[in-house]
């Protein structure tokens, strides 16, 4: 897991630490007067939680303190020790120390902290004995250089400049000395080692946290050294800069005293907690905000967006009416300004709600690994574009569909190693999950190089399940036939495995994607692999929509579902089984008369114009043409749910308010398609 970028978890850790420390403080304060079992239990849990999360983050000093706290609390809990003032004091001292370490971490200075005495004291209390004379510090972090060392180095600088390398090992580094030794070797190859901190013996015995420092002379520039150290395995962070007396006591060499080009924050291959801590102030200044409040803000901005459009329209009307009127011009200007501010505000709030898709992707490697082991396959999972951001509401909703698809790829897509070798493919299968922005959407592809989907089998299954008649199946193109994998109850797996094959899954995937207003597409080449493409809106609160008029009612079709708009001539329309279809670039696309399926207009009143507008929409894998009366234009609209009062209305997913103050309905494309199918 060392390759994981932990920096994104830092905020979470800090938030959690805040919460747990608060609990600790409150409960510890009461503990002395009222040492109930329940209270002890609470404190123990808080300490335990902190230990776990700090370990995971690689903050070992923090973890050590909480570990000792836990030991002590366990004894108290078990009744082997009684709560005394001394113990309460010690616990509070722990709190102070933990708060201090936490503050240090938040400022990006890591968790190196002199906690030896405290730890010793806790250990002593746990033993129930009196203070020992020499509560030797177990490990004096790497921050404070012993006076002798400073003196020695100061001496040495007189003979020439000394470089200082502060190397931080990955928190889970197993052979710390080996790594330190490699670093020392590297120094000896390109320079002269002057001193180490801690000293060689301590290094050898691995009696140091995760940071050590090397002082050496070299002609090579500092950034060069930085790379050298970072190339050593399990090195989380390496900082190299000139060492000078006085400033040496400062934990981090300041930028000013470094040669140009060397930044204290480095970008190592592995970037665990250390680097995260280096991010400094931007984590110390976060505020936790309730999601509900963000939603409320988004709503308010939504209303502002509506009024902005409204004011702009009124302004335009006034401008047309009162030409050359000074105030009208001023109004236009102000409206323009408000419009800009509103969109900025909207952007900012949208951004505040954005999360990188990584938060979803991070669940995959483990799942794929475990699953591959279980089914005896070799799979390499590649994730790309994890930093692509999208609204948290979308993030929350896409995790499961993606997992489903991945699971299918592992279980059905990728062949067992023997089969792959036989087929002349590399033994290890590859699954690539990639995300990218495309206009106002996010596109997520899940691609495997497995056996592909057996179209003949899909057809056969579809026939067996009564989804299609054998004759109709004959006529289906491969691409159309593939769509049946999204039908409920259809699985082409020969056997139901523990993992998948029950035929529930792809239909759930489809319905989840549809709920989000997304499109899912599948392509498959037998023997080569399968690729699922998901296209999702970035946010669910404000969408761009295509305004159309149908029987006098204005509908907003979410642009995310719109593939294209066409002006179709009557002659182009053909009839298949009494259904109107048109051919678009060779693809047969059914037409749905929107007014008729929604019961606004009547089939018999159909006007027989020569030409009419068709909006080609794609929902999930289907393409369908909606016949509308008029195309009005494109607009950003704020989605308002239909009141619970109105209930579910077929073909309508919500409402919105247009610039002219009127209410328009948001078309539920999926619903319209289902209505059309039933008609």
């Amino acid at each position: 897991m060392a390759e994981l970028d932990m920096s994104q978890y830092l905020d979470l850790f800090l938030q959690e630490a805040d919460e747990q420390l608060e609990i600790l403080e409150q409960e510890t304060l009461r503990l002395e007067k009222d040492p109930t079992q329940e209270r002890l239990q609470k404190i123990f849990r808080a300490a335990h939680t902190l230990k776990g999360s700090s370990r995971a983050m690689g903050f070992l000093t923090f973890a050590e303190v909480t570990h000792e706290m836990e030991n002590l609390l366990d004894l108290l809990r078990g009744g082997q020790l009684q709560v005394t003032t001394e113990i309460a004091d010690a616990l509070l001292a722990c709190l102070d120390t933990l708060s201090a370490i936490k503050a240090q971490i938040a400022e990006g200075r890591g968790d190196a902290y002199e906690a030896g005495e405290l730890v010793e004291n806790l250990k002593r209390l746990a033993r129930g004995s009196a203070p020992t004379a020499e509560a030797a510090p177990q490990n004096a972090g790497a921050d404070e250089l012993p006076a002798e060392l400073v003196q020695k180095l100061t001496e040495k600088t007189k003979q020439g400049p000394i470089l200082r390398a502060r190397i931080r090992l990955a928190p889970d580094c197993l052979m710390k000395f080996v790594r330190a030794f490699m670093a020392i070797n590297a120094v000896n190859e390109g320079g002269t080692l002057v001193a180490t901190h801690p000293d060689g013996e301590t290094l050898e015995e691995e009696k140091f946290g995760d940071t050590f420092e090397l002082f050496f002379r070299s002609e090579r520039p500092a950034e060069d050294w930085q790379k050298t150290f970072q190339a050593i395995g399990e090195v989380a962070e390496a900082e190299v800069g000139p060492w000078q007396p006085r400033t040496a006591d400062v934990a981090q060499p300041s930028v000013a005293q470094q040669p140009a080009g060397v930044r204290p924050e480095t970008k190592p291959v592995a970037k665990p907690a250390g680097a995260a801590a280096g991010r400094k102030a931007d984590t110390g200044q976060t505020v936790r905000v309730d999601v509900a409040r963000l939603d409320e803000l988004m709503n308010l901005v939504g209303e502002l967006v509506i009024d902005r459009t409204r004011v702009a329209q009124i302004g335009a009307v006034l401008a047309a009416k009162y030409d050359n009127e000074e105030n009208v011009e001023a109004l236009a200007e102000t409206v323009g300004h408000i419009a800009r501010i509103t969109s900025d505000l909207q952007d900012q709030i949208m951004k505040a709600r954005m999360l990188p898709i990584e938060t979803v992707f991070n669940r995959f490697p483990r799942m794929v690994r475990d699953l591959a082991n279980k089914v005896g396959k070799e799979i390499q999972l590649d994730l790309e574009g994890g930093d692509t951001e999208l609204d948290r509401s979308v993030i929350e909703a896409i995790g499961d569909p993606l997992l489903h698809i991945l699971r299918n790829s592992v279980d059905h897509g990728i062949e067992p190693p023997e089969d792959r070798v036989k087929a002349g493919k590399p033994q290890t299968g590859r699954i690539l999950v990639s995300a990218r922005h495309q206009e106002n959407h996010i596109v997520i592809d899940i691609e495997d190089d497995g056996r592909g989907i057996d179209v003949a089998r899909v057809k056969q299954k579809a026939i067996e399940n009564g989804l299609v008649s054998p004759e109709a199946a004959e006529r289906l193109t491969d691409k159309d036939a593939l769509q049946f994998i999204f039908a409920s109850g259809l699985s082409t797996a020969q056997q139901v495995s523990e993992v998948s094959g029950r035929g529930v899954g792809m239909d759930i995937v489809r319905s989840n994607i549809q709920k989000l207003g997304g499109i899912i597409d599948v392509e498959s080449t037998p023997g080569k692999g399968t690729k699922f493409s998901l296209r999702l809106p970035l946010t669910l609160a404000i969408i761009r929509g295509l305004l159309v008029s149908v029987g006098g009612v204005v509908y907003v079709i979410p642009l995310g579902s719109v593939v294209e708009t066409l002006l179709v001539h009557r002659k182009e329309v053909q009839t298949v089984h009494a259904r109107e279809v048109i051919l678009i670039r060779g693809v047969t696309t059914p037409l749905v008369r929107m007014g008729e399926v929604l019961g606004i207009t009547n089939r018999w009143e159909r006007k027989h114009e020569d030409e009419f507008f068709v909006v080609i929409v794609g929902i999930a894998e289907q393409r369908i043409g909606l016949v509308v009366d008029k195309l009005i234009g494109e607009q950003e609209v704020v989605i308002k749910s239909l009141s619970g009062f109105v209930g579910d209305v077929p073909g309508v997913s919500g409402a919105t308010i247009l610039g002219d103050g009127n209410v328009a309905l948001i078309a539920d494309v999926n619903g319209i398609i289902s209505c059309g199918r039933a008609a």
Binding site: V554, G599, F645, V649, A655, L665
Partner: protein, 147 residues
Amino acid sequence: MSTAPVLNHREQNVIFRLGEESYGIDIFRVHEIIRLREITPIPGSEPHIRGLVNLRGKTIPVVDLRTKFGLPPAEDTESTRIIVVESDRGNVGIVVDAVTEVVTVEPDQVDATPPLVANVTAEFVRGIAKQEAQLITLLNLEQAIAA
């Protein structure tokens, strides 16, 4: 449905007209009264739902009480109003022919069991209030606007 006294204490009611009848709803349930404005129909919704209106940036559904009560439809006029009331499921507008007044109804003015007096099904009615010369049907709002 009610056998206990309809009102336990005096209550102010907003009185409105539908055709020839007067109806009253508890003033505390009334959010505001607005002039008729553009109502966007929702094709496919229940017949008594006339559509949605924009109330200062919020969309609220509007119920046509005439349809609900099985009265013949009427033309919208200058006096047609939308009474915005608070319901369990958010604010709802009801279209009425006119809003006439606000009256204080004393408990002893109300008859519990409505005789077949109004054009309205009994379940929508809390009671009938006698006010001077006129009879006012006190509406059970939740029932009257429910689907």
